[in-house]
Amino acid sequence: MSAESGLFERGRQEFERALQRNIKGLDYFTSPAPVLGASAKDVLIERGTLRLYHYRPLTDEIYRVPVLLVMATTNRGYIFDLTPGQSLVEYLLQRGYDVFMIDWEAPRPDEKTLDLASYVLDFLPSCVARVKQVTGEPDISVIGYCFGGVLALLWAALHPDAGLKNLATFTTPVDFTKMPLFATWSDKRYFDVDRLVGTLGNCPAEMLYTAFDSLRPGGRVAANIRLLDRMWDDEFVKAHRMIDRWSSDVLPLAGAYFRDTTKRLMWDNALFERTMDVAGRPVDLEAITVPFLHVTAEHDHIVPTAASAPLIEMVGGTDKEHVTLKGGHVSLIGGPNAVRRMWPKLDQWLAEKSL
């Protein structure tokens, strides 16, 4: 192909894209957002901020051990269940797992008194008991995402007889000093968490959203420019809408819980320093001896690998594996990388341990 015809072809392609960009740009603002979290499910627990879902099996035969997903308290659980083909829940169901999920609604104003102990010593044990009741199985596999992983770890360490068979954590922080922006913003010299909680009750979602957004000050502007540039590309637009909607859908945090996590984890770094306790009960991560999978993302800007990687050494037991995969904090579980890399890895690890 000559240089002239190559240039002509490139020009024609860009003209076509500009045309599509204009047509689809209008669609973007007028069409409804994709339906997320639509896998068929039953609500087993609906108590204040807490939700426990049971997804309808998609296979004629399922693994004996049920799987419980624990969502981070700052975001909605539909990141596990985006659209068909982009849903970890659907993938697990198709692979024959019996899937449950702990999800969160925005805590009500009167739930400002919920503290870390409420989550670790009440919500998680209640959900695990309900899963056992529904399945009739004494064992359970638990998978925690981000701070859901921290809750799962605290619960597991404090409930050695709860029937935990396998534990997996995704992008779960343990050394909070290695999250420099969060550590600086919550610096106890300047940040009066008691005053914030005392005045507002719960920690507002807007504050958390701004904090997450500020981790990449140029990210949102650049993402919007890329969206405009790729407006002709339906798959790109769909993925952008899903992730953008999810990352903007931040939940407020219960006041006492926010105070506990700020003081004990951000200020004292108690989990990493091995001085953590929940309601006076000391937490020893070495007490967790079940098979353990720890997945971190290479380009995680929220929980950098340095903040999450030490966890593998802190958990007890010998059957444990740390995997670092390409991708970021969100794309690790809900993007094309997840479909190609993380989900098959999880299935490979979990299948033989679910009998």
């Binding site: 490139r10 860009e14 039953d42 609500v43 087993l44 627990i45 108590r47 204040g48 049971h54 309808r56 099996p57 296979t59 004629d60 035969e61 399922i62 693994y63 004996r64 024959g96 019996d98 009500r108 104003p109 009167d110 739930e111 209640s126 008991a129 309900r130 009741q133 529904v134 399945t135 199985e137 420099p180 922006l181 600086t184 913003w185 610096d187 010299r189 300047y190 940040f191 009066d192 005053r195 914030l196 005045t199 507002l200 009750g201 500020s214 981790l215 990449r216 000050p217 140029g218 990210g219 502007v221 650049a222 420019i225 890329r226 540039d229 490979q348 299948a351 033989e352 679910s354 009998l355």
Partner: protein, 112 residues
């Protein structure tokens, strides 16, 4: 030379620099101090408004936000008790449809 490729590359570069320098700026103790002072000022204002509104509502014999929150808390406690009773009675799915119960006998496929 492809001008659009150059534009995309420029966006990438700009984002990298904005994240790097923006992050450095936000990590400065002075920035944190200023941000937290603003937050403290906002909280102080909020508290004063809450107190003034509380007094005005009490004078008008109307419930304050705290009264409503207390009521909501009591309703929440009743809801929690009901949930516990419901959970203890029978595992009925919320939709009312029968819960599919495939046998839990699945084995992993043989891997090469």
């Amino acid at each position: 030379m492809d001008p659009l490729a150059m534009m995309r590359s420029a966006v990438d570069q700009w984002e990298k620099l904005a994240n790097e320098y923006g992050g450095q700026f936000l990590q400065r103790p002075e920035t944190t101090q200023a941000m937290q002072k603003m937050t403290a000022g906002f909280l102080q204002m909020q508290k004063m408004t809450q107190d003034a509104m509380g007094k005005a509502l009490a004078a008008a014999n109307l419930p304050s936000r705290m009264d409503i929150e207390a009521l909501s808390g009591r309703l929440g406690a009743i809801e929690a008790s009901l949930a516990r009773i419901e959970a203890a009675s029978a595992p009925v799915p919320s939709s009312g449809a029968p819960l599919p119960r495939p046998p839990r006998t699945r084995k992993p496929p043989l891997r090469p």
